[in-house]
Symmetry: C2
Subunit: 345 residues, 2 copies
C-alpha cells in the first residue's frame, strides 16, 4: 500500500507531515509513503526524525516539488498556475496510479479543484463533497457532509451526499444499514427550507436506504444518525463552531482545575485524568476529511493538526484504500445520478 | 416593572416557570410577575413554592388561561385556535400594556406567529429574528441571529439582522461600537453563498456600523465579533449542534473523573471543582432568546430549562425593559428598511 503526501500544506511547515507520515508507517505494516515538497527541506526533516520514528525513514521516499499552493490562493489560480506544486504533483502521482491515495493539509478549495481535474469524479457526481466523522455520545461516529465544497445546492445534490455518505458508512465502517438523516431546523416534515423538504421527499421515495428523516443539530452528537447530510455552508458552520466550542471548553476545564486545585497533592492526582480528558475532547483525534465522490482517494488533514493528527488523516486514507471506496461508490451510485445538477464554486 | 409569563410552555410543566419566576423576583427588587395558565394548577404551584422562594409569592399573580399551545402545534393552527391559551393571553397582556415584557418556554413557531400578530414589528421589519447571547472564550458574549425564524432569507434581511443585533449589543450590553460580522465558510470576500456576498457588499456600504466582514463558525466562540449574523437555518443548526456538543463534553468530563478517581479522598476533593465546572459549561446559564424586531419584548426560554435557567430568561427580559429595547430599535431602524423583503414561514 502506498500513499502520496503533500508535505507542504500544514500551517506549521513540513515537519508535521513528515513526522505524521512516519507515525502512520509505524502503525500500518506494509505502508509506504511518497512525500512531495522541496527535496532539500524534506531530506532535512527525514534526517531530523525523532528517534522513536527514525525506523520509518526507510519506507518514506522524497519526490521533489519546487513550489507550493498558498493558503489563500484561489482555486482558479491553483488550476492555472499550480502545476509544479507539491499538491498538484502529489495528485498527479495518485492519478497515475503510482499511489493508492493522497493526503494534504493545504488549501481546501485548491485541493478540491486540483483533485477533481486530476482524478475526475465517480458516476455522475458533478463535484465531490467534503465528509468527516464526528464523535458522538455513544463513542461512535457520525459522518457529516458536505463541509464546504458545495455552498448553494439543489435537493438532488443533497440526495447525492446522502448516497455517498451511506456507502462510506456501510463499506468503511461496516454498518449493515446506516441511518441517514437530513439536517433541519425541526424534526417535523413541515419545517425547513424548500430545498431540504424536496430532498426529504426524494430520499423518502428512494427506498434503497435506511433514511430516517430529519435531525436537528444536537442529533449529530447525540448519535441519532450515522450519516447527516446538509449543504456545505451549514456543514462548515456547524463543524467550525463545534471546533471553536470544544477549544473553549477544554480551556475552561484546565482553568477550573488549575485555579481550584492548588495543592500539590491534588494537582498530582489530577494530572493523569486531565491529560486523558484533554485527549478525549481533542478534535484532532478525528482528523481527516474525505473528498467524497472523486475517482480516487484524497484526504484533507486539518491545517493546524500536529503530527499525531496528521497520522490520523493518513490512517483514514488507509481505511478507504482497504475498503476500495471509489470502486464501491462507482458501482453503487452507477448511472443513477441526475446529470442536471447545479454546481457552483 | 411587570413581566407576563406563559407558565405552561416548558417540557417539565408549570413548576419550572413558577419557581423560575419566584427566583427572578428575588433577584430583581421592584419586579412583579403575572403568571398565565390554569388557575388551579398555578395556585397549587404557588402553595408549594420551596421555602427559600416563598417570600416571592406576594409579587406573583395568577391569570387564568384554560388552554395551552402544544409543542408540535403548527403556527397557523395556533393563530386560528390559540385564543384562550396561556401563550396568547400572556401576549395580549403585553400588547395591552399591562406588562412590560413576556416570557414563554413554549413552541417557538407559535410564539413567533402569535407575538407578531399581537405586538406587530418595529420599523419595516417584516418578521422578527431570534437572537441569543453565546458565551465566548474571553468570558464575553456574542449575539447570534437568526436562530430559526427566517429560513430562506435575502441579503436585505441579513442586513436587518445585523442592524438589530448591533442595536441590542450597543444598548443592552453598553458596547460603544459592537463588532458585527457575517457568518461565512471562509473569511475571504470571494467565498460563500451569493446571498452572503451580497449582504457583505450592502453592510460594507452602510458605513454607520462597525462591520468587520466575515467570520467562520469558530469565530463565534473565539470572541471575534459581538454580533454574528446568519440565516435561521444556519443559526439553528449551529446553536443546536453546540448544545449537543456541550452536553456530550460535560458527560465525558464526569465519566473521566468518575472512572479514574475511584478513591474516596480524591472524589471528595474533586466534587466542588466538578460542580463548578459543570455550571460553567452549562448552556442553561445563557438561557433566553429574544424575538428581536417585535414592537414589544418577548423572550423565549429553552423548553428544557430548569427553574434557574428560566429565571435567566426572565432576567434577560428585565435587561431589555430597562434599556427600552423596542423604542431603540424603532428609532434607529426607522424607515430605512427595504419593504420589498421576502418572508417565509
Amino acid at each position: 500500500m502506498r500513499i502520496a503526501i503533500d508535505a507542504m500544506g500544514g500551517d506549521a511547515g513540513p515537519a508535521v507531515a513528515v513526522q505524521g507520515s512516519a507515525a502512520a508507517i509505524q502503525a500500518w505494516p506494509g505502508l509506504a509513503i511518497d512525500l512531495f515538497g522541496p527535496g532539500d527541506q524534506l531530506s532535512n526533516e527525514l534526517d531530523n526524525l525523532p528517534r522513536h520514528l527514525a525506523a520509518a525513514g526507510s519506507r518514506l521516499s522524497i519526490h521533489h516539488a519546487p513550489m507550493m499552493i498558498h493558503q489563500h490562493q484561489r482555486p482558479s489560480d491553483a488550476l492555472r498556475r499550480g502545476g509544479d506544486t507539491s499538491m498538484a504533483l502529489m495528485l498527479a502521482h495518485v492519478a497515475g496510479r503510482h499511489a493508492d491515495a493522497g493526503v494534504s493539509a493545504g488549501n481546501t478549495g485548491a485541493l478540491m479543484a486540483l483533485a477533481r481535474r486530476a482524478l475526475g469524479t465517480v458516476a455522475d457526481i458533478p463535484r465531490p463533497a467534503i465528509c468527516t466523522a464526528i464523535p458522538t455520545r455513544a463513542d461512535e461516529r457520525c459522518y457529516l457532509l458536505d463541509l464546504g465544497a458545495n455552498v448553494d445546492v439543489t435537493a438532488e445534490r443533497l440526495v447525492d451526499f446522502a448516497r455517498m455518505g451511506e456507502v462510506m458508512a456501510r463499506h468503511v465502517d461496516g454498518l449493515a444499514a446506516p441511518r441517514v438523516a437530513l439536517l433541519n431546523v425541526g424534526s417535523e416534515g413541515t419545517k425547513g427550507s424548500e430545498t431540504v423538504r424536496q430532498a426529504d421527499a426524494l430520499l423518502g421515495a428512494l427506498g434503497a436506504m435506511n433514511y430516517i428523516g430529519f435531525v436537528e443539530g444536537d442529533g449529530i452528537f447525540a448519535g441519532s444518525a450515522d450519516v447527516v447530510v446538509c449543504d456545505g455552508f451549514v456543514g462548515n458552520a456547524v463543524l467550525k463552531a463545534s471546533e471553536g466550542l470544544a477549544r473553549m471548553l477544554i480551556g475552561r476545564v484546565q482553568t477550573t482545575f488549575e485555579s481550584h486545585w492548588g495543592s500539590r497533592l491534588v494537582g498530582m492526582l489530577a494530572r493523569p485524568a486531565l491529560r486523558r480528558l484533554k485527549s478525549e475532547l481533542d478534535p484532532v483525534r478525528y482528523n481527516g476529511a474525505s473528498l467524497l465522490g472523486l475517482d480516487g482517494i484524497v484526504i484533507k488533514s486539518h491545517g493546524s493538526a500536529d503530527a499525531i493528527g496528521f497520522s490520523y488523516a493518513v490512517s483514514r486514507a488507509v481505511q478507504e484504500i482497504r475498503r476500495g471506496l471509489p470502486a464501491r461508490l462507482a458501482a453503487e451510485l452507477g448511472a443513477q445520478c441526475d446529470s442536471t445538477q447545479q454546481e457552483q464554486w
